[in-house]
């Protein structure tokens, strides 16, 4: 899958603010000015990219399975790939071939 080889980062100038509440994680995207309620998976995926820019989709998938204590069946790569592209569509993530 083409998405596997791309590397994921925050878009240039992007700044994300996270607030953890008892029932969910809220995030402010300072670049676009939008607020998002994140699922656990999205929050973890974003946190991974913030902590370690330049991971590939495959690497993000592996680390998510680990962090969320899930197996491949519960969270297939295709689902993670789709999530990353959804986040990309919101300008929360950027993908490049570098």
């Amino acid at each position: 899958m083409a998405g596997a080889a791309l590397r994921w980062r925050l878009p240039p100038g992007q700044r994300l603010l996270f607030e953890d509440f008892d029932d969910g994680i809220l995030m402010f995207d300072a670049l676009v000015g939008s607020t998002h309620l994140l699922s656990a998976t999205s929050a973890e995926a974003l946190a991974l990219v913030v902590d370690t820019p330049g991971l590939t989709g495959l690497e993000i998938h592996r680390r998510l399975l680990d962090r969320l204590a899930l197996d491949e069946a519960a969270l297939p790569f295709a689902a993670v790939d789709e999530l990353l592209w959804q986040l990309e569509n919101l300008n929360l993530l950027a993908a490049d071939a570098a």
């Binding site: 676009v32 000015g33 569509n89 300008n91």
Partner: protein, 368 residues
Amino acid sequence: MSARRDGRPVRVAATLLGALRSPASLRTLELPEWEVLLSCARRNAVLAYLGERSTAAGEIDAFPPQAQKAMRAAMTAVGRLAQLARWELERVRRVLAPAGIPVIALKGGAYLLRGLPHARTRPMSDVDVMVPHAAIDAAEEALLEAGWQGTKVDAYDQAYYRRWSHEIPPLQFPGRLLSVDVHHTICPPVSRLRPDPERFWANSQPSAMDGVRLLSPPDSVLHAAVHLFFDSDFDGRFRDLVDVHEMLEAFGREAGFWPALVESARLQGLARPLYYACVTRRTVLGAATPDDVLRELERNRPAAPVDAWMKRTLATLLTPADPADWPPAHRGLLWLMYARSHWLRMPPHLLVPHLVRKSFRRWRSPSG
């Protein structure tokens, strides 16, 4: 209500113009005079701009708290519009780039992508882009397909847009604030001014946003100069003059800019609008154009009586409006009839129904 100093009324437009030239001149203002000034700036959509100029000049922190709050609030509100404009451009890019349709960002969007200091201070209600004439239908289709909707204009406006204008009717994405205006050139097709869009494309430059281009600096200035004459927005003209001024300030420092500007104007037959833009910029804003440039442009001016009338009328029209005037003077209408019949070859009796419809509808929309 007008400001008074020593019992004499002070023209607030003069105070505002002085403040934009030199924010330090506001240090002597009394609070009641501040109120009048802020109201005038707001009326002419330059309160955020005044705030930015005052911040850049290091003056704002010494202003009275009320003035600081008013300016900062305007900068906040208009800054948000700038953020929305970038987002709208980004969404347009995501649709048109994969469709192979090249895009040039115009006006506010272009100033933002260029990083011009005044870009974040301009209230915007829409985002303007240009696509090649041959691609205009494909662009409209692609955007409609991706979720934008034609705004509810009646049959009269639809016909007007497609026949006389250089753009398709505005497109609005549901739930978002700013609409998108897609142009295929910068002047109406039936106008006496017939710049060649091919040259604009040939001179265009990439921007910080992949897939979105910009007019070259000279062409950006020419576009803004032409816009002073065609825009029928009663409230936005002073701000449009500020756009021309800011670009000339920013680009004028670059080597080779002025000769390139004069050459582009000559080649595109836009020397006259540029001449009037420069002259008015000096009269109203006190900003000078290099002498040799002005002499070159003067070669294109009309006969002396017409020239004098144009200069006087432009200076009146482009001076900031006084918010104390009620009802506001309809000085724009006569000018528009003249300018448009002059530039457009549209007889005045055809202009009136259209202009009255436009001004009637626009008068009812909220101010920025």
